[in-house]
Amino acid sequence: MQTTLQIAANGLMLGALYACIAVGFSLVWGVLNVINMLHGSFIVLGGYMAFFAWRDLGVHPLVSLAVIAGLLFLLGWGLQYGIINRVVMQPVLTTLTLTFGLDMIVYNFMTLAFTATPRRIVLDLGNIEFLGVVMPVDRIVAMVLALALTGLLFAVLRSSKLGRAIVAVRMDRDAAALMGIRVDRIYAITFGIGALMAGACGSLLAVVYPVTSSMTGLFLGKAFVVCVIGGLGSVPGALIGGLSLGFIESAAGHWLGPQDAMTIGFVLMILLLMTKPTGLLGKQGYE
């Protein structure tokens, strides 16, 4: 019983972070039809920024989070507006290749600048024990913030003017243009939001796990799996996908060992692709 509860608690914590990792990736894929290979690097970059702000400047990660999110938004916005928008109407392979190339630049820059040494912010907030389940406080904080950020994005998309415009562009680009929506600007803002979510999530991750530049591919892979499980382009989809993956990995990690937990995630992705390629919450035929 206690073991089950502990697995569930770990799964929830992991799942909240996975949802946060994937939600920006899913948004960009759904709205722009761009598979953003940079997403993992954005996450790691956010983690590094939080780490160095904490170690060298003494800034608490909860404070730097907002600044990092803002900077990553600007970076994402600039990349989309200046570079990716030029080819965004091309087939998906073109934009994938472009973001792959940009990812190589960012990834190698990070390795060069920060080395591959794993970095972690150690806050030492102690543990909380409840019903025999032990949870480190820093993990709980990271989980709550990850869920809050995901919820905030949902609220913005759901009930703001910007959110309506993003959904409109996603559903019908030409009709959105007829509403006076500047599609190129919405693309840049959406890509910026994707980067913002990645950066914020990265700084949360740095509080929980060691972060290193070689993890970019790992995070990107997680984002893929979550999108496939939950379905593309919706916040609830990313949340369901993230939590599912979190619970599965947590359980598999306990029964099979952590080295196999990730394999299970990818096997599940392949099974879902074969049986329900739209994901658990995804709908068919968006356009």
């Binding site: 415009a165 959904v167 559903m171 243009a177 509403m179 006076g180 929506i181």
Partner: protein, 239 residues
């Protein structure tokens, strides 16, 4: 004579290498209902898409309310006062009727209360939309979707409302109902440019018509005159 509200002069346009419009001239005077009729693929929709900026004309002038709008972007053209209700309604799936209508007012910076007042005006014109305002817009019936699309166009407070394929796929009674609403909209001072395949409906509603054939204007005139023209009667009215 005063300058017409919209004047299209010598406009050519197309998609890539395929030229669709050839030297099109058209003018719409303020306060009128003007229709474009012609068969499928004649270029009527392309003309509307060129006026609203979705396609850039390769040649020619488009003047609206004294401004040159050829080559302007869709948002500039909407801001100038031309709203375009596209063929097939093109409502946004996943958004409610209300959100779809609000998107029509996307460019407006006036007070929220003014936008809500216009929303109420649309609801007064099409009461069914008020009933269904929280429902996904694409779950409406075809006629209701057309009402929503027209309402969405009106939310921009346009001087000129362009409607593409008003009656396509709608029940005759629904067409009548929407035509009445358009007359009412026109009475409030909004000029209307209508694209319609059903010439009878178009001629009933509009007072001036252009006939488009293979990307060129082949005839124009008052609808009452055109309705008696033997060429129109034979080709479009089946008489």
């Amino acid at each position: 004579m005063a300058e017409p509200l919209l004047s299209v002069q010598g406009v050519s346009a197309g998609y890539g290498d395929v030229q669709v419009l050839w030297d099109v001239n058209l003018s719409v005077e303020a306060g009128r209902i003007v229709c474009l009729v012609g068969s499928n693929g004649a270029g009527k929709s392309t003309l509307l898409r060129t006026i609203s900026g979705l396609i850039k004309p390769t040649r020619g002038q488009i003047r609206f309310a004294g401004r040159d709008l050829a080559g302007a972007s869709p948002d500039e053209i909407l801001r100038a006062g031309i709203a375009h209700v596209p063929e097939g309604r093109r409502l946004f799936k996943g958004l409610t009727v209300r959100d779809n209508l609000l998107l029509g007012a996307y460019l407006r910076n006036d007070a929220h209360a003014d936008i809500v007042r216009d929303l109420d005006a649309v609801f007064a014109l099409f009461p069914i939309l008020k009933e269904r305002q929280n429902q996904d817009a694409t779950t409406l019936s075809g006629g209701e979707q057309q009402m929503c699309a027209i309402g969405r166009g009106m939310m921009a407070r346009p001087q000129l409302l362009m409607i593409d394929e008003l009656s396509l796929g709608l029940a005759p009674r629904m067409v009548e109902r929407i035509a009445e609403a358009l007359t009412e909209i026109n009475r409030t001072g909004v000029t209307i440019l209508l694209v319609e395949q059903d010439v009878l409906t178009a001629f009933e509603l509009a007072d001036y018509a252009y006939v488009v054939e293979t990307g060129r204007i082949s005839m124009e005139g008052n609808t009452s005159t055109l309705a008696d023209d033997p060429r129109v009667r034979q080709a479009y009215l089946g008489l």
